[in-house]
């Protein structure tokens, strides 16, 4: 399992969604948020500072 590449699946069509991510060996659970901009979700802030590639997908 490649923990450096995660998909973030958003359920519903809210403008903003958040969830939890915890990486193996990590110190703590990180809250990750996405916001909808121009119809597409984008990660707001990156607690992993680029260590993890996060691809956002909608599940409407």
């Amino acid at each position: 399992m490649d923990w450096s590449r995660l998909e973030l699946m958003v359920f519903g069509n809210a403008d903003k969604a958040s969830g939890l991510v915890y990486l193996p060996g990590g110190d703590k659970v990180q809250a990750v948020s996405v916001v909808k901009r121009k119809g597409k979700y984008q990660v707001e802030g990156d607690p992993f500072r680029g260590k993890v590639r996060m691809e956002v997908k909608g599940a409407e």
Partner: protein, 753 residues
């Protein structure tokens, strides 16, 4: 051994195991119909009869004696009572009547004693109430049940005030009021609403014809031992949850619950592998009875307005927690410990049966798991890895394992961790039996002899711990990843332990000592908190994880498993599993299909029981559905792993009752046939054959995980069932999903790659 011989060998062993289990199962008499003349070894101890006995003396809490507001310490004045009968219109009632002292010389003993009690504060949400029934020898000892051995004290959050008839302490989340006469302790929330209050004789006398035993203690005529009945009020619509892995009614209101660790021999009866002396109320409080003595809780079964916590111990040590379910669980696990995170690999699928017998078996199942593309991280060897099935001597059978270390290493290279079964009981034919007797590592009976035909390891004996650690340590150093900590519910009730106490205190503590020694050793050798245990007591959540025992292969057992898991999660345990498909027999395919979809959406997932359990031993259609459900688990692994970490930090359960997330929704308190995996994924297993089921949805928008159809709660929906259970996501949360793909070319497991 030829293949034909091997099958015959398995057949004989399974038959032997089945006969054994059948015999044990038939011997069990439900505790509700227990006959004192038919006592059977290790039947649960229900002390409630001692509280309605015409030979005993009862001391009813009457008024407050002296009290020091600065320390919260004072005395309760008790009145002396005995049961008498009254006949009216062909009906006899037994009720309490005040009686004079009967001791001689009278000046030596108090007829109506004043005895110590105290109110202390542990945190802004936690109150500690203690009461003694007589002289206690020695100061408090560190408690294995408490995370740090002792409870902290909060001397700043609660403010004292004098009331017209007593004393009050007020904190940010509620208050405690002690009234002078009649003596009461009243627990209120921060809006002043009465949550519960102790029951006094005057609350009942003249107000109901039903005789009620109020807050009191009993002195038994047989031996002058004493036990407390802490009687508290119940309110209309109040519901009670917890008490460990209880398979009976989810809401305990109206039930009597015996807290005594027992080999339940199934998951549909009232006894428990994992009773926990903790519960929570829908009214906004929880209680932890800090003792390992037997306890019987009557949650309004005898009379709807009173819950009686009948505690075998001679002193009451009761912690009361204030708040919503999440607050209560957080506070309780602050006190008794939170579940640490198990290793990542343990969240993968465990493949097992009773039992793989040989290195050949182990290597074959490993190859088949990869061949049939069933994602898995663990292979478990159950009772058959010794030279003689079930006869645990901690040695791989030389006749069937050419090189255990190499097997373990090779399987590790293929991505598998190995789990091994064992137990703490030793039959006379076990080669270790003479050594255990010679070194006095066993529990003695009250005559100083062996209580049973088996020798039971005494984990309160430091010498036993050293001996046992060496045996288990050798296996872990060989490369074994996890030890199955099986049994542990049968420590002799009247046994003498090295701790200096009898089974009265050590029986329920036994699982905690047993869990702890294996978990600590695994942590020391591998740096990982992982065991696979059946029995538990308060504090065992610090040693994850536990599975649900020997479920039958039936729809009812599947449903009862979920009730047990929900109750267990409401008792401070974050992690839990059960035997997917049930244990006792080969699982009917239709049941296994539905159970797999349920069991693969827990914190931990293991298929185990009478063979076959391997999915490729069923139809091609089943294999594909199992693969689909297992792949869903691995795809959800980042969600599961993050939720697990969150649970371990907050004392929350992974298999979560709906009301934990939706405490303001009345309907969520009623649901015991669906759950939330973590905070947001609602799972509604299909407990009967069919293509749909009714699903209760809490408030909000819910989206079918697979079809993406949207539903809006609150209410019950009858929806189609995909993958044999119904999964739905709370809208707006974000799910971290792995890039896991079905049928990967190379195995990478749950771990980082």
């Amino acid at each position: 051994m030829t293949n034909a011989n091997f099958k015959s060998f398995i057949g004989r062993l399974i038959l032997a195991a089945a006969v054994l289990l059948s015999t044990v199962s038939n011997a069990q008499i439900p505790i509700s119909s227990g006959d004192p003349n038919q006592a059977l070894m290790n039947e649960p101890v229900d002390i409630s009869g001692d509280f309605r006995n015409f030979s005993n003396t009862y001391y009813l809490a009457d008024s407050l004696g002296k009290f020091d507001p600065a320390t919260g310490k004072g005395e309760i004045v008790y009145g002396r009572y005995e049961y008498v009968t009254r006949m009216a219109f062909d009906n006899i009632l037994g009720g309490l009547q005040s009686v004079p002292a009967n001791e001689f010389p009278g000046i030596e003993y108090a007829g109506a004693p004043s005895l110590p009690f105290s109110v202390e504060f542990v945190s802004p949400r936690t109150i500690r109430i203690r009461a003694r029934t007589g002289t206690e020898v020695g100061p408090d000892q560190p408690s294995l049940m408490l995370a740090n051995g002792t409870a902290p004290q909060d001397k700043s959050s609660w403010k004292y005030s004098k009331t017209t008839d007593g004393h009050r302490y007020t904190g940010p989340f509620g208050s405690v009021t002690i009234t002078q006469n009649p003596w009461h302790i009243e627990i209120r929330d921060n809006a002043g609403k009465l949550l519960t209050s102790t029951n006094h004789n005057r609350d009942n006398a003249g107000k109901t014809f039903t005789p009620v035993l109020p807050f009191s203690f009993v002195r038994r005529a047989a031996d002058y031992s004493r036990s407390i009945s802490a009687a508290w009020s119940l309110s209309p619509d109040e519901k009670i949850f917890g008490c460990g892995e209880s398979f009976t009614n989810f809401n305990k209101r109206g039930s009597k619950v015996v807290l005594w660790t027992d080999d339940s021999n199934g998951v549909m009866n009232e006894t428990m592998y994992k009773p926990i002396p903790f519960f929570m109320s829908s009214r906004g409080y929880g209680m932890f009875m800090h003792t390992s003595s037997p306890i019987t809780c009557d949650f309004g079964k005898y009379i709807a307005s009173v819950m009686s916590l009948m505690i075998g111990d001679e002193a009451l040590d009761l912690f009361v927690f204030l708040g919503d379910p999440k607050d209560i669980l957080d506070e309780y696990t602050n006190l008794t410990g939170k579940s640490p995170m198990p290793p990542l690999w343990s969240f993968g699928f465990w493949m097992s049966r009773i039992t793989y017998f040989s290195e050949t078996d182990g290597r074959k199942v490993a190859a088949d798991l990869r061949r049939y593309k069933i994602p898995a991280d663990v292979i478990h060897f159950d009772t058959g890895w010794f030279e003689t099935d079930w006869r645990c001597d901690y040695e791989f059978a030389a006749s069937r394992f050419d090189d255990p270390a190499k097997m373990i290493s090779d399987l590790k290279d293929q991505g598998f961790h190995i789990s091994l079964w064992q137990l703490p009981y030793f039959v006379p034919k076990n080669r270790l039996f003479p050594e255990i007797l010679e070194k006095k590592l066993y529990v003695r009976n009250n005559k100083g002899n062996l209580p049973y035909e088996d020798a039971v390891l005494d984990f309160s004996n430091p010498a036993t711990l050293d001996w046992y650690r060496e045996k288990i340590g050798n296996l872990l150093k060989l490369g074994v990843g996890a030890i199955k900590v099986d049994f542990g519910e049968a420590a002799p009730a009247n046994g003498l332990f090295a701790s200096g106490r009898t089974g009265f205190y050590e029986h329920n503590l036994y699982p905690l000592r047993y869990n702890k020694v294996v978990s600590d050793l695994t942590q020391e050798i591998h740096g990982e908190r992982i065991i696979w245990a059946r029995s538990a007591w308060a504090g065992s959540q610090r040693y994850p994880l536990h599975w649900g025992g020997d479920a039958a292969n039936t729809d009812n057992a599947m449903a009862a498993s979920l009730r047990g898991g929900l109750s267990f999660g409401l008792s401070g345990f974050s992690f839990w599993s059960h035997d997917i498909g049930g244990f006792v027999q080969k699982t009917p395919e239709s049941l296994y299909r539905r159970w797999a979809a349920f069991g693969l959406l827990l914190s931990h997932s293991r298929a185990h029981g009478a063979p076959p359990k391997e999915p490729w031993e069923y139809s091609p259609e089943f294999l594909e559905l199992f693969r689909e459900a297992d792949n869903l688990r691995y795809r959800l692994m980042p969600y599961i792993y993050a939720q697990a970490k969150d649970c371990s930090e907050r004392g929350l359960p992974m298999v979560r009752a709906l009301f934990v997330e939706y405490p303001k929704d009345p309907g969520s308190w009623l649901v015991d046939n669906e759950y939330l995996l973590g905070s947001d994924l609602l799972v509604a297993p299909l407990f009967e054959e069919g293509e749909s089921r009714q699903v209760y949805l809490p408030p909000g928008q819910w989206i079918d995980y697979q079809s993406h159809l949207t539903y809006t709660g609150v209410g019950t929906r009858s929806g189609p069932v995909r993958s044999r259970s119904w999964c739905s996501c709370a809208a707006a949360p974000l799910y971290p999903i792995s890039n896991w793909r079905k049928r990967p070319r190379t195995w990478t497991g749950a771990g980082w790659s």
